[in-house]
Amino acid sequence: MAQFLVKRLLMAIPTLLLVALLVFMLVRLIPGDPALILLGDGADANSVAAINRRLGLDQPLPVQFFIWLGNVFQGDLGNSILTGDPVLALVWDRFQLSATIILLAVGTATLIAVPVGIFAAWRQGSGMDFTLVALATLGLSIPSFWLGLMLLMLFGIQLGWLPVVGYVSFGQDASLAITYLVLPVLTLILIEVGVLTRMVRSSAIEVLRLEYVTHARAKGLSERSVLFRHVLPNSFAPTLTLIGIVLGTLLGGIAVVETVFTLPGLGRLLVESIYSRDYPVVQGCLLMIATGYVVVNLIVDLLYPFFDPRVTLE
């Protein structure tokens, strides 16, 4: 296992280098001038040139890339063009919040989706199955911004139970921080539970048709034992893959939810930085997301043998 881990970590290095190069080039291919955006609509050519000189944006692209890459290897992702904040601290701070929301939401969604999906598969074709599939489809079809706004209106404005905007970190006030996280986490749960339920159900249906399940039943095992000892472990492996993909995708895709709830997360930072052509921050965010993908995939691969005995880490 240790050998597998080292091998995978080494393989991640060229992946991240390629990501770094692509991110650097793609960001600069988008039309727009960060100095112009920084200065605002009263800017003149001399000021724009001065700012570009100060930021090193007047250098040839390869020079800019190698300076940036050299700094990245030293743990320096540069400073935000717009606010001057150090990118590494900014991105790490935002990543922690986004990761907290995503892990809470996907974890809870998984805990709900697994029994519900297996139950629906067990009752395949029944009215209950139809209802659960319909609810799951509804959940994954609702746009997250709409659902978020509706929850905000209900719990924030009508009932006044939960705060509507802003964020307080766990370090500042843990109980208050939880109140700020309830609605965004709930929004994501309601959507992701639909995605995961459908996946668990379809995997479980396949497993339920296999001969060893029939054999288990023929041996006289209770349905509960059949479902939880034989069906669940064997149908969870594909869901695990999906969870990995969802975790990675949400790191960037959570921007909509973060915008609705004005949470200072990684997704919102990325989107705002793209709009303002804040190159160092865009690069930092994308590198963080790519690293997140690599780590999540690695963890999924490490967990896979526990659910599917056919897979080994050799």
Partner: protein, 515 residues
């Protein structure tokens, strides 16, 4: 009888009578983060909104665009040759870090801003690019500072007072002595306590603030810091601002999305106020190349747009339809001047004939980042099609539109100008030779000469020059003005003393919040 309320009431009244202020905090929405430490290092509204509570300049604007002293005791003495301006500073003024305001600090602050490598976008108004070129700024006494110009330029004070340049706010030496200043330090009524990137900015009352005696007027006069604390919550999303205001989590939404105006106005605990501001909503024309080089076609496009229909549909009535380059809020606005290019479908056909219009397509560039700009583009396209002028909408993001505007790479582009209390400066912005500054819209030497005269003229002598400009503008039709903008704010009824005003950006001096 319960005497407790009486006792509290008496204590509160005593506090108020004694000139003290009950502790109060105001929470305001802010569309974006503060992007610069130096005054107007970025000229976006969010940066300037925060900075106008922190920095003060030597001179500033009254609400009618007149220049008034702020840190200067009075307006400066001008030498006979008009090249030397000597400001005497007010005594007893200190910066937020406790250091005193001295002529040396003022000179350092101005020289810092004027160094080319600082990239101060307002340097262009003082470096000879326009009529003003500063040769030096020097301390000529402990509390006396002298600006020397290369040539006499009566426009100096107007340019120094510009709110979009942060009045050339005077910075403490803690800022001017470093290349990496951390936070704004000025002499204003509030000081920066903390800032969390893209989350919030907290200001607290500057206890040693030294206000002027004159009544508050525009950015000038007495700035009373009645609040203990101002928290700017950074909320870019209009729906989130709306929710926050309704839930009582912010007290003021300074620039509301107009689609929420009617609903907010119907609520008991929230007020919506709107005033005309010296700003115009426009389409910039590229007059040096492409289909809009012919003035007759530009006039036809002007005549084809029903501005009232646009204002009703896009701005929900919170703007004033106008074709005039002079904002409706200005004392120099003349309704007749607006008529020359206003909606007239009958006239369009004659103008198209005069232009020999052959059906060439006009590209209208706009963006979706600002919904008003997008909707403006959509409506303009519909009106042009109805008038028989072919057009196509090009939708890009604002960050792409910005360099296109500056390089002149467009045919017709939605563009709105930030308000300046002296509307002459909008004309200054748009008028000039495209050959040297591609972002200029109105390339007519006669117009430029008139604008130079306008800026240099005292307020009382400006009307005749404005009339001449309006006539020339109607002949050239270098752009399309469709509305004079309004500032529209929504705020909780707990907020006392808050006024929506011509400068658009919220002023929180003289404001209190009922607990």
């Amino acid at each position: 009888m319960n005497r407790l309320p009486c006792i509290f009431g008496t204590v509160a009244a005593a506090l108020m009578i004694g000139g003290n202020v009950i502790a109060a905090e105001l929470v305001s929405g802010l569309a974006g983060d503060m992007r610069a430490v130096i005054p107007a290092g970025s000229t976006d509204d969010s940066t300037l909104t925060v900075q106008q509570h922190v920095y003060e300049g030597l001179v500033t604007w009254k609400e009618n665009g007149e220049v008034a002293p702020m840190l200067a005791k009075d307006l400066p003495q001008v030498s006979e040759d008009g090249r030397s301006y000597t400001f005497k500073l007010r005594e007893g003024v200190t910066f937020h870090d406790g250091t005193p305001l001295t002529a040396e600090a003022v000179a350092k602050s101005w020289n810092y801003l004027l160094e080319p490598e600082r990239g101060w976008s307002c340097r262009q108004y003082f470096d000879g690019s326009g009529p003003v070129e500063i040769a030096s700024v020097e301390a000529s006494g402990e509390l006396e500072v002298t600006f020397t110009l290369v040539e006499a330029a009566p426009a100096l004070l107007t340019q120094m007072a510009r709110a979009d340049c942060g009045e050339g706010g005077i910075m403490a030496e803690a800022i001017t002595s470093t290349d990496t200043p951390q936070k704004p330090i000025g002499t204003g009524p509030y000081m920066i306590e903390s800032r969390r990137s893209n989350q919030d900015i907290v200001l607290t009352r500057f206890e040693d603030y030294s206000p002027r005696e004159e009544p508050a007027d525009g950015y000038a006069g007495k700035k009373e810091a009645l609040l203990d604390k101002i928290t700017f919550l950074i909320i870019p999303d209009p729906a989130a601002n709306y929710s926050a205001l309704r839930a009582g989590e912010i007290d003021v939404w300074p620039a509301i999305a107009l689609s929420y105006a009617e609903e907010l106005d119907g609520l008991d605990s929230i007020s919506v106020d709107s005033v005309n501001i010296p700003s115009i909503s426009t389409f910039a024309f590229q007059t040096s190349k492409g289909p809009l080089t012919d003035p007759a076609l530009r006039k036809a496009v002007n005549r084809a747009l029903d501005r009232k229909g646009m204002v009703d549909a896009i701005a929900m009535g919170y703007a004033t339809p106008s074709a005039s380059v002079i904002p409706v809020s200005s004392q120099f606005f003349d309704e007749a001047g607006s008529e020359a290019l206003s909606y007239d479908p009958q006239e369009v056909a004659a103008l198209l004939e005069a232009a020999d219009y052959d059906g060439t397509e006009i590209v209208i560039t706009t963006n979706k980042n600002y919904s008003v700009m997008y909707e403006t583009g959509v409506m303009a396209q519909a009106y042009l099609e109805a008038a028989g002028i072919r057009s196509r909408l090009e939708v890009i993001d604002f960050a792409t539109q910005l360099p296109n505007y500056y390089s002149g790479d467009y045919q017709m582009m939605t563009w709105n100008y930030a308000p300046t209390l002296d509307p002459a400066l909008i004309l200054d912005r748009v008028t000039g030779p495209k050959a040297t500054t591609a972002s200029k819209i109105w390339d007519n030497p006669q117009a430029r000469e008139l604008v130079d005269r306008l800026i240099a003229a005292p307020i009382g002598e400006r009307q005749a020059i404005y009339d001449e400009i309006q006539t020339l503008y109607a002949e050239d039709a270098p752009m399309l003005v469709w509305a004079s903008s309004q500032a529209t704010s929504a705020y909780s009824d707990k907020v006392q003393g808050y006024e929506v005003w011509a400068g658009r950006k919220p002023r929180y001096w003289g404001v209190t919040v009922e607990e």
